[in-house]
């Protein structure tokens, strides 16, 4: 009996030792992996290679992956030789969350759609995970591939001096309206906020739902709040909030949320506005379910598709977000964004991947415009002959805009963005007052 415990202790020690060794082996295995890929990446004059070019996108966006596939068999076939494109897609509703997990475990794809929240992209950039494209372009000899306006928007978005993402879209935002319904109610496209309110009242009186918005997604409603503030207080109003110089709960900011909440309170967004998602809202507009639809020009793809668009592309008009009387902002400052741009990761960046980067930068704009009618932030060298009037109109608007502004949550934290967008629907249904909404968002943004 006296010998047994000693043997057991020995056994326990031995087993613990084996366990500890296994753990140690696992962790050191990981380290070796990283260091070997690191040395590959920085390997002197010898050309570095990759066996595949991975791309990760959102299932909701098929334009990017289709364009890349066309490039692979067309303009980029040289780059794809030995380094074929391997695309993958995951759901976009939890995009930022999944991207954080991938980034945290050093598993980002060579190319992927960027984080939706700019502050998260800034974290990635600070952590050295995202390829500096200004430097890469210098090395690769790429020049003038990105439009200066789009480059400026991206740098403003991530608050960087260099370019870290490519504008696979370049969008302007504003109100799209159903011309027939405007004629029926006898209203003209408004240029000021009070004209917008009058138009909505006239449409409502004529039995037409004035606005369509995806309340369950939130952002189509919070965009209105943000734009009102930018028109009323000037282009730097939201940056001042991000810098802590102003608060969303200040009365002049609450006025913006109140203005939108008043539209919701009047029932102008229709019944159950908080339960309408993006696709439903799009479908409502394209089947004549409402008169005004605040949306970005990325929706051109839907507008130009006769199957989806029952009201006809020629029946859709555009007007810029109206001015607020006496406000510091101007109607010519167009809300613009680069959609969800794409980024390249620094991990596993090789000469082969560099070839792809160069090819995408130089050819993406032409292919996306020709095949998907997508207006991008790339320099376009060939304009397709059969381009729709709406697409040309958007290109003209982009060319004539004197300045651009970012959206409501662009400078907010991830938490501020989420809270703003999950509560945006409440403004459209009249469930939240402007002050309540702003308090929630301000608290989350500070948090």
């Amino acid at each position: 009996m006296t010998r047994a415990p000693r043997r057991a202790t020995l056994a326990a020690i031995a087993l613990t030792g084996v366990g500890a060794l296994t753990l140690a082996a696992c962790s050191s295995g990981g380290d070796t992996d990283t260091s070997s890929s690191g040395s590959e990446g920085s390997g002197g004059s010898e050309a570095t290679t990759s066996t595949e070019f991975t791309y990760l996108g959102q299932t909701q966006n098929s334009t990017i992956v289709n364009t890349l596939t066309s490039l692979e068999s067309g303009a980029c076939s040289a780059a794809a030789d030995g380094t074929p494109l391997v695309p993958d897609a995951i759901d976009g509703t939890t995009w930022d969350q999944q991207l954080q997990v991938l980034a945290g475990s050093d598993a980002l794809s060579n190319m992927s759609m960027a984080a939706g929240t700019p502050s998260l992209m800034q974290d990635f950039i600070d952590a050295g995970l995202v390829l500096n494209l200004s430097e890469a372009f210098d090395e690769l000899g790429v020049d003038g591939a990105v439009l200066p306006a789009a480059e400026a928007t991206l740098k403003q978005l991530y608050q960087t001096d260099d370019l870290y993402a490519l504008p696979t879209e370049y969008n302007i935002e504003g109100f799209w309206y159903n011309m027939d319904l405007f004629d029926q109610a006898g209203v003209e496209p408004p240029t000021t906020w009070s004209e917008l309110e009058d138009a909505a009242a006239a449409l409502d009186a004529a039995g037409i739902q004035p606005f369509i918005a995806a309340g369950s997604d939130g952002w189509p409603v919070t965009r209105l709040v943000g734009n009102y503030i930018l028109r009323d207080l000037g282009a730097d109003a939201l940056q001042m909030v991000a810098d802590g110089e102003a608060s969303l709960t200040d009365p002049e900011y609450v006025a913006g949320a109140d203005a939108v909440a008043a539209l919701g309170d009047a029932g102008y967004f229709g019944p159950a506005a908080g339960s309408i998602d993006y696709n439903t809202a799009m479908n409502q507009f394209l089947t004549g379910g409402g008169a005004m639809f605040y949306m970005g020009s990325w929706a051109l793809g839907n507008f130009n598709d006769p199957e989806q668009n029952q009201i006809g592309a020629e029946n859709i008009g555009y007007f810029a977000f109206p001015e607020v009387e006496g406000g510091a902002g101007s109607i010519s400052e167009t809300p613009a964004n680069a959609g969800i741009p794409v980024m390249f990761t620094t991990a596993n960046y090789t000469d082969d991947i560099g070839e792809w980067v160069k090819c995408v930068a130089e050819n993406y704009g032409n292919v996306a415009l020709a095949e998907s009618g997508q207006v991008t932030g790339f320099t376009v060298t060939e304009t397709p002959a059969d381009q729709s009037a709406l697409t040309t109109m958007v290109q003209d608007e982009i060319a004539s805009a004197t300045g651009s502004v970012l959206w409501f949550e662009a400078a907010f934290t991830s938490e501020g963005t989420t809270v703003s967008q999950t509560n945006g629907g409440g403004l459209a249904t009249g469930a939240l007052s402007g002050a309540e909404f702003m308090e929630l968002v301000q608290a989350a943004n500070q948090g």
Partner: protein, 293 residues
């Protein structure tokens, strides 16, 4: 066998492998998670020691308190309803359906095996208000009511979740409690009947006290399951409208993975663990007194 267990060496040797696996997959992650509660940051930006800041922040965080309150409300309402419904069904199986209950049991158990997301999709269609009115709204309007946005209104959406989850889980509790009820010796029931107990009196005096242990297990099961509710709410309302139906688990998930605050997320997780522990001990204590009375 007895001599094997008396040999401490053999016992240790047999226990160690399991203990080792348990340590690696359970204890180490738990301790790791607890150390996160004293840090801020995430895997991308790196970690920083912040002492008790996360804990102080939790108690001053209105959203966390709302989530805590929602979780408690949900757990209490759900536990009451699903155990009561399950118990009622189990009694129905035993006293009314007797040997013919297997088809009914299978039918009522069926929702348990359905994927949560499918059930949530079905319920969101049933209670839909836009773009088309779902069956519930159609019936309401036919009866002269107004179109109601059940999932867009905080008051209603709570009850839609409750209805869905009770429908989903009552079959499980019915089977669990049924297993306990069939174990009650027939001779005791028989003698009670001879003594003149029948119907409600039989249930109250004989069946209920004798099924208390399995009822206790069900309640502990239910409390712990409902405090940790996640999938059904994410699939049905995603915590909305606003954050009206956000439980602690969803808030923990969002803080950790959407807001990139691993430390604060771990703090929320730890609070949830404490809550489960307290609830279990509380239920266990209060019920044990009853059993021994």
């Amino acid at each position: 066998m007895d001599s094997v267990f008396r040999n401490r060496g053999a016992t240790l040797l047999m226990l160690t492998p399991a203990l080792l696996v348990y340590t690696v997959v359970m204890l180490i992650p738990i301790v790791w998670s607890v150390t996160y509660t004293f840090q801020s940051g995430n895997a991308v930006t790196g970690f920083e020691f912040v002492g008790f800041d996360n804990w102080i922040a939790f108690f001053g965080d209105a959203t966390a308190m709302d989530a805590l309150w929602f979780t408690l409300r949900y757990a209490i309402v759900m536990t009451t309803l699903q155990v009561a419904a399950g118990y009622g069904l189990a009694l129905l199986y035993i006293f009314f359906l007797r040997n013919k209950s297997s088809l009914v049991r299978a039918t009522i158990f069926f929702p348990v095996i359905l994927p949560t997301v499918a059930v949530a999709l079905m319920f969101s269609r049933m209670f839909e208000a836009a773009p088309t009115a779902g069956p519930v709204n159609t019936i309401l309007m036919w009866l002269g009511g107004d179109l109601t946005d059940f999932l867009g209104d905080p008051g209603y959406s709570f009850w839609v979740i409750i209805i869905m989850d009770v429908w989903r889980s009552m079959g499980f509790y019915a089977v669990l409690l049924y297993a306990g009820l069939v174990e009650i010796p027939q001779d005791i029931m028989e003698s009670a009947r001879i003594d003149g107990a029948s119907g409600w009196k039989l249930v109250r005096k004989i069946v209920f006290p004798l099924s208390l242990p399995i009822l206790l297990s069900s309640i502990i099961f239910s409390i712990n399951g409902t405090l940790k509710v996640f999938d059904s709410i994410v699939a049905l309302t995603n915590g909305g409208p606003g954050s009206a139906t956000t439980p602690l688990t969803l808030y923990m998930f969002r803080t950790s993975f959407a807001y990139g605050q691993y430390g604060y997320g771990s703090t929320v997780a730890f609070m949830l663990t404490l809550l489960c522990l307290i609830a279990t001990v509380f239920v266990f204590r209060s019920m044990r007194k009853d059993v021994t009375r």
